[in-house]
Symmetry: C2
Subunit: 442 residues, 2 copies
């Protein structure tokens, strides 16, 4: 029997299954046992079908015994945020307006997970329509604190050892923030690397698919599985799958060049978080780099795009049931309905300049090191915390990863966010692994 508290990483488990030292059924059962034990306190799942998970695992084991070729996630249990369509489970998008909704077709990422051999354990809790209003999930480190959002259940499920891997989405800070609050590794790839076909749409400019795991190797493993070009997502360009798994384990010839960036939002971070980051940056001998002043407008640009995009994406929800939307989302949609096209297009037009400025900076450094959040997970479940330390990177579409390297107030985890150059996700993850290893040995 696997001790759920020492659940192997996905990379370890995949190897053990491949080598016959572990079966998918045993691994999935261990996850289900852990879920049975801790779900009442954490409430990470919006839909869970234990018997069906075992059925999938049995089929994986049978396929292996029959000598079929095995995908990179063969037999590995995965949690899927309940905004990705699943043909065999409901997809309710965190709103009563979609209660009982059963898609006919899998989202592209779900199809890719299945094709890679994964077992879809269930659907994880999302905030309302993946925006701000919280679901039921609690932080596994302290159930009186928020897990962050919008990918609340995915982050909490991985943090609680319920599954080794989960997928989520980020339009502002919805992967990095809950990963940081819950003390796991969260990875939001470069814009356009993972198909959003079959995922709830908030904003075609800002929506990203992201992943959660307990190690950098694991986010590379699942990330690479998901990076298949899909013409049904117009943001994708034909390009080879980045060699994340190969590169993440390479040693770079020299220590990476790290830039510590406070960002224009530094004053919004807690004093304790600011102190912890300054100490870390000194310890790692980071150079301090400043973003051009134009980045001060990034949050307003993001807001202009997001509100107008929400107004269009959720127009039918608004029209048929605005009284069943949260007041905060309703306000955002109502503001978005007033946004002028010239202001929207001015915001769209401002992004390439910001992107170029980041690209220039990231020609001089391997990664940017910056806070993932304003501090540890806030107390209470009424808010999922501030996404402000993610906004710039989401807006610019650069890859981001958060590592659970620091501990803040009340012993809660504090995430260290690394930002890579657009399209150079492999180098970002390699540097993240280097930093994880170094931090653990320090």
């Amino acid at each position: 029997m696997i001790d759920p508290r020492t659940l192997p990483t996905a990379s370890e488990a995949a190897m053990a299954i491949r080598q016959g030292r572990l079966t998918s059924v045993r691994l999935v059962q261990a996850c289900l046992d852990r879920i049975a034990e801790i779900e009442p306190a954490v409430e990470a799942w919006s839909f869970l079908a234990p018997a069906y998970a075992i059925t999938q695992a049995e089929a994986r084991d049978r396929a292996q015994n029959a000598g079929e070729s095995l995908g990179p996630l063969h037999g590995i249990p995965v949690g899927v945020k309940d905004i990705f369509d699943t043909a065999d489970m409901p997809t309710e998008n965190g709103t009563v307006l979609h209660a009982g909704r059963q898609p006919a077709e899998d989202a592209m990422v779900v199809a890719l997970l299945r094709a890679a051999g994964a077992v879809i354990v269930g659907k994880t809790v999302t905030t309302e329509l993946a925006v701000y209003s919280p679901g039921k999930t609690r932080n596994p480190h302290n159930p009186a604190h928020t897990p962050g959002g919008s990918s609340s259940g995915s982050a909490a499920a991985v943090a609680a050892g319920m599954v080794p891997l989960a997928i989520g989405s980020q339009t502002n800070g919805s992967v990095i923030r809950p990963a940081a609050y819950c003390g796991v590794v969260g990875y939001k790839p470069s814009f356009g690397l993972i198909s959003r076909f079959g995922a709830l749409r908030q904003s075609p400019h800002l929506d990203h698919v992201g992943v959660f795991a307990r190690s950098v190797e694991d986010v590379a493993l699942i990330g690479q599985v998901l990076m298949a070009c899909d013409p049904r997502d117009p943001a994708m360009r034909p390009s080879p799958r980045p060699p994340l798994v190969e590169v993440v384990n390479q040693d770079s010839s020299s220590p990476p060049r790290l830039a510590f960036v406070r960002s224009p939002f530094w004053d919004q971070a807690d004093p304790e978080a600011r102190a912890a980051f300054q100490t870390l940056a000194r310890r790692l001998a980071c150079e301090e780099a400043e973003l051009p002043t134009s980045f001060a407008e990034a949050a307003q640009i993001h807001r202009t795009l997001l509100e107008a995009d929400l107004a269009l994406s959720f127009s039918s929800e608004y029209e048929r049931g605005k009284e069943r939307l949260s007041p905060r989302l309703r306000t955002m949609i109502e503001q978005g309905r007033q946004t002028l096209a010239v202001d929207y297009n001015r915001a769209v037009a401002a992004v390439p300049g910001l992107r170029r400025a980041l690209d220039d900076l990231l020609q001089r450094y391997d990664v940017i090191l910056t806070p993932a959040t304003t501090g540890v997970a806030p107390a209470g479940l009424a808010s999922t915390g501030s996404p402000i330390f993610c906004t710039i990177w989401t807006l610019c579409g650069v890859p981001a990863v958060t590592l659970p390297l620091l501990t803040g107030e009340q012993g809660l985890p504090l995430g260290v966010q690394l930002i890579g150059r657009e399209g150079d996700d492999a180098r970002l993850l390699r540097t993240a692994r280097w930093l994880s290893t170094r931090a653990q040995s320090a």
Copy 2:
């Protein structure tokens, strides 16, 4: 001495120059003689520098005599619509607000013309900021009639035998319409095939570069020169240059399949034009094809996009001199300033569906045959006529060519528009050549 009335086509002249039977100086001088004779009646040029054109031609002849390698347009005179930046000539965009404007850098298309050996004779008249308000140009077939717009001077200059080639732009009907009214071949390639860097921007979604000539071979020749990928235009994707020149002269194994499409705007065509098209469609044994009903909204979608884009593109002109804009343009900008982002984005989102419907139709036919305009060039210079028969094709980014195959009221030319499948410009031009040849021999 070349008789200007029998000016060779660009393809013929390029061959004659290459073979030493003609010099660039002789050809350019012949064009200048023709311009001197007829420009007072036509007024196609906003900037003309005859001595400088001869200087360029002399340099081309010297380069040839020195044995340098020759580009496909070596020594050929070209007219450039005055919305494309030229580092050696003013670029005034058809508005007093830009009077005396001298760019520092060539537009990409101008640089490509020079690199191909062309001689830039001068800048041709555009309507005000390439929108509706006419410039001074008159129709060479009858100076009491409009030449069409916005590329008025380019169409008229080619029609009058002043230059064998000219470039223009189309955001609604600004290449096809003046080409049809002036009785020349006009070609608007697929969206994203020609860089708009250094061209006046109206709408990033709708702006296309197009070309004018007196034969289909010639539009293929200059079109291919201009189709070089340029990362400075975000609409361009890396792709090989389409083999227009090679394919245009191929014979297809079987007669092309032609679909006659009346379009939702058929009732706006003059009775004489409708009759002429029905006769032509019968004579060519076209099948009649109908567009899905969704295309009835195309004109409104185009208008929503265009007005909001004009409001942003010309915001500085509006703010510093709205009293010097024409009332019509001012009204469009003012409407565009009120456009809501949700309506704009709904319009953007409607386009892919229209594009797919056209693509489906064009899998069953080689080309669509449809009117280029509502009829012949209207009398008077106050309006440049209706672009409505171009709107759908511009909105969808499909390639279009107009051929001067019909004659309408008062002996004025009536253009036959052919539409190809998006990206399959070579096949469209091959079919256009087939139809030109057939019509001439019929």
